[in-house]
């Protein structure tokens, strides 16, 4: 289990990863069943099950690493399970619901700069006004506009006097 694979940016949270694992398990079942059918009769092949873009991208990346077999798919599931158990998870709270572009941008930055398998969950809180609040475990990194305004309110008198 030395192979490593980068998760698609669309797989951000543990829920996404769990859903992806379920999808890969279903695909593995289908692949195994289909492989048996092909061995029995080449004409009895079932239709390939529909996959989400994330799963398709993951399988394509996995196929580039090693050929798709039942065994390699089991190995992929093990890797995903390992990610699920060990991957660090952070929560980013924004001032508005994050769009997919913003999510992909932030997840890509986190997986490039922090850890390749990091899980990122998103939330929103309108009172933040802007910026972000990052939670990890018991740590909170508050880089929101609201925090900056509150921290800078003591200097408001000084600024007002300068004006």
């Amino acid at each position: 289990m030395k192979a490593r694979i980068n998760l698609p940016d669309s797989v951000a949270s543990l829920q996404d990863l769990t859903a992806l694992m379920l999808e890969v398990r279903e695909y593995t079942k289908w692949f195994s069943h289909n492989a048996i059918l092909q061995r029995v009769s080449k004409k009895r092949v079932t239709r390939p099950m529909p996959l989400s873009p994330s799963a398709s991208m993951l399988l394509r990346d996995w196929e580039n690493i090693q050929p798709i077999t039942v065994r390699s798919l089991d190995e992929l599931i093990d890797i995903l399970n390992l990610y699920k158990n060990t991957a660090p998870t952070i929560t980013i709270t924004l001032a508005a619901p994050a769009t997919n572009d913003i999510k992909h941008t932030l997840i890509g930055w986190c997986r490039t700069n922090i850890a390749p398998n990091i899980m990122v969950a998103f939330g929103f809180n309108a009172t933040l006004l802007g910026g972000m609040v990052v939670h990890h475990g018991s740590r909170i990194f508050d880089w929101s506009f609201r925090r900056q305004i509150l921290n800078g309110r003591e200097r408001f008198g000084e600024v007002l006097r300068r004006v």
């Binding site: 660090p88 001032a95 930055w109 700069n113 990091i118 309108a126 990052v134 990194f141």
Partner: protein
């Protein structure tokens, strides 16, 4: 024998009583009827002087008596005058000494009182000055503290007002797309801190 002795004894007693009674009666008589003493008869001058001699002797005696009386009077007056002068001098000296002593004592007392009063006044003035200085310092300190407190309170109120205004105004106008670069820059700025925090938690 016994009866004879008793009779003799009684007879003696009767005799004694009789003698005592007689004495008592005589004294009582003398007490209630005292006898007037007999007037002595004047001594009869046996020497007779002629009237001229008698008059001359009387005049001489009168002159002598007068001279002695005048002399005694003059001496007495002189002595009285001297005594009066001495007494006056002594009284003057005594009075002067007493007045001098009392004056000196009075002046000393006055000087002591003056010094004491000056000391008390100086101390009181110093205390008043110190107290005024303390009060002024405390007043300045309180005024400065109150001024700073009011300024800080005003700044806090203004800061709260501006913060509330910004919060109420901007929270419905958030454009995350415009903030993407800012968020990436923030992440880059705090990259080390974030990685360290995650590593510590893991």
């Amino acid at each position: 024998m016994g009866i004879t002795f008793l009779q003799l004894f009684l007879l003696v007693n009767v005799f004694i009583i009789g003698a005592l009674s007689a004495t008592a009666i005589r004294h009582a008589w003398a007490h209630f009827r005292p006898q007037k003493p007999k007037a002595e008869k004047p001594v009869v001058q046996t020497v007779h002087l002629p009237p001229e001699v008698k008059e001359r002797m009387l005049a001489t005696a009168q002159a002598d008596f007068k001279a002695v009386l005048e002399k005694s009077t003059a001496e007495l007056q002189k002595n009285l005058q001297e005594t009066t002068e001495d007494l006056n001098q002594e009284l003057e000296k005594l009075g002067g000494a007493v007045i001098k002593s009392e004056t000196e004592r009075y002046q000393t007392m006055l000087e002591a009182l003056r010094v004491q009063a000056e000391t008390v006044i100086t101390t009181a003035q110093t205390d008043i000055k110190d107290h005024q200085t303390d009060l002024k310092a405390k007043l300045d300190e309180n005024v400065t503290a109150e001024k700073q407190r009011l300024i800080a309170q005003m700044d806090t109120k203004l800061g709260d007002a501006v913060s509330s205004f910004l919060t109420e105004t901007l929270q419905h106008n958030v454009d995350l797309g415009a903030q993407t670069q800012y968020m990436l820059a923030t992440l880059e700025e705090h990259k080390a801190e974030l990685i360290k925090g995650i590593a510590d938690e893991s």
